[in-house]
């Protein structure tokens, strides 16, 4: 794989010549098989839920402790959460993401929720084991090696403890968040995780509104991160859940919103797709439509968050039909998303060996 191709891709790369219509593209055998597989998951309709305002670590740049959601009072009554999830199911929610601040601190609530809606994921720092009764994917946040974690997250032996707790757990996916400062140490961390048989995917530090710290990316760090992602994907294809297009989309100099137009209610008050169904609940079970997105209080102009991309890029299938390879790249992205988020979904080999510039999807949507 030529790792320089993506980094060198000009912002206005001309679209490849269209090779037939969408109907023609989806008849190609490799595409037809993969499209059929991922399409079975089109029924997923997500919402997210902050479970508690408490956390056992304090990380620089944490999205949860920005804005006023941190002031919501905890509702610790499992029955209240059970009723909420029954209502969520009734309005068509089929996938839940349990987050902020640290869901593992409220185990009774996790069990109540998973009993009502069986598909979901939990964003955790991985320092407290979550009962195997909860059949959700567990995303364990990794922000560098142990020295970096101690500095940025103020927790000792973080990766070592996370591996002790979750190595061998089929629910666990370690999420390595690339910041401007930890790019070089990603290889060591991934090697360590791979040695323990752990699955890993990649996230990008995305600044919250007004963040002035040192973790934010620059054009140079974005390019370096892209190289690191592609290199690790090539070297650890069994352990790294990612695709070349994922790397391209998340390390572009433009944010996900600027590239694809975010469909979350915070940027899309329409009545279609996520704009219609998505809610982001606070720990007191309230939600505010105007603030609703997967990582509230993130600066949309800097948003490259993996959770955001999982909805934003997947929702823009219509912008990826310029050529068979562009659609293959989109399928790889969706396949990655499903493998990372849906327990039991097995990642397939990536279809698109040709790096595709996200600018093509932006051009396709330029009519907006």
């Amino acid at each position: 794989m030529n790792l320089d191709v993506l980094a060198a891709a000009p912002a206005n790369t001309a679209p490849a010549a269209t090779s037939g219509t969408f109907a023609d593209i989806v008849k190609l055998p490799d595409i037809a098989a993969r499209f059929a597989k991922v399409r079975r998951y089109f029924f997923l309709r997500e919402s997210t839920y902050d479970m508690t305002r408490r956390c056992n670590v304090r990380c620089d740049g944490c999205y949860y402790y920005e804005g006023d959601k941190q002031n919501a009072q905890d509702n610790l009554d499992p029955e209240a959460w059970r009723k909420l999830f029954q209502a969520e199911k009734a309005r068509g929610i089929t996938f839940v993401v349990l987050a902020g601040a640290e869901p593992a601190l409220v185990p009774d609530l996790l069990e109540a929720c998973s009993a009502e809606i069986p598909l979901g994921a939990i964003a955790s720092n991985g320092l407290i084991h979550i009962s195997s009764e909860v059949g959700y994917r567990i995303h364990i946040s990794v922000w560098g090696n142990d020295a970096t974690s101690e500095r940025v997250r103020r927790a000792k032996r973080m990766l070592e403890r996370q591996i002790e707790i979750y190595a061998g757990d089929p629910r666990a996916v370690f999420v390595y968040t690339f910041t401007r400062e930890n790019i070089a140490e990603a290889r060591g961390v991934v090697e360590n995780l791979a040695r323990h048989g752990c699955k890993v995917t990649f996230n990008m530090f995305s600044a919250t509104v007004g963040y002035q710290g040192s973790l934010s990316h620059t054009p140079t760090s974005l390019a370096e991160t892209r190289q690191a992602m592609l290199s690790l994907l090539a070297d650890y294809p069994e352990q790294v859940l990612f695709s070349p297009y994922s790397a391209a989309a998340h390390t572009d100099t433009l944010s996900l919103h600027d590239l694809y137009s975010c469909p979350y209610p915070r940027q899309n008050q329409g009545q279609f797709g996520l704009g219609r169904s998505f809610r982001q609940y606070r720990s007191d079970l309230t939600w505010i439509r105007e603030a609703a997105c997967c990582v509230p209080d993130t600066d949309c102009a800097d948003c490259r968050h993996y959770a955001a991309g999982s909805a934003i890029v997947t929702a823009r299938m219509n912008r990826h039909i310029g050529s068979p390879d562009q659609f293959r790249a989109w399928l790889d992205y969706v396949d990655t998303y499903l493998a990372v988020w849906v327990q039991g979904y097995a990642k397939e080999p990536n279809l698109c060996a040709v790096p595709i510039a996200p600018a093509l999807a932006r051009q396709t949507g330029a009519a907006r």
Partner: protein, 89 residues
């Protein structure tokens, strides 16, 4: 006959919907073209996007994605295709 052409287009759209979304217990002849696809049939936005992409190829038109939310019925889809083709009087 414009009415016949409209009817044929609506029937073809219904046929594509049934085929792409594997809808059961309905045929192109029995499909109510005023049924709300999202609210009444529960069609997901991704499925609707799939249908739109197939229709774009079939009718050689390009739907603006900002207009997807208005594609709520077979009749509305047919109307929009006719507008895009410039055949609405």
């Amino acid at each position: 006959m414009p009415q016949t052409q409209n009817g044929l287009m609506e029937r073809r759209i219904a046929e594509i919907l049934i085929q792409e979304l594997k809808l059961e217990n309905v045929t192109p002849d029995t499909f109510d073209v005023t049924t709300d696809l999202v609210k009444e049939l529960g069609i997901d936005s991704m499925d609707l996007t799939t249908v739109v992409l197939v229709l774009q190829g079939e009718y050689k038109v390009k739907f603006d994605e900002d207009n997807y939310p208005s594609l709520t019925t077979v009749r509305a889809i047919a109307e929009q295709i006719r507008q895009l083709q410039g055949t609405v009087s």
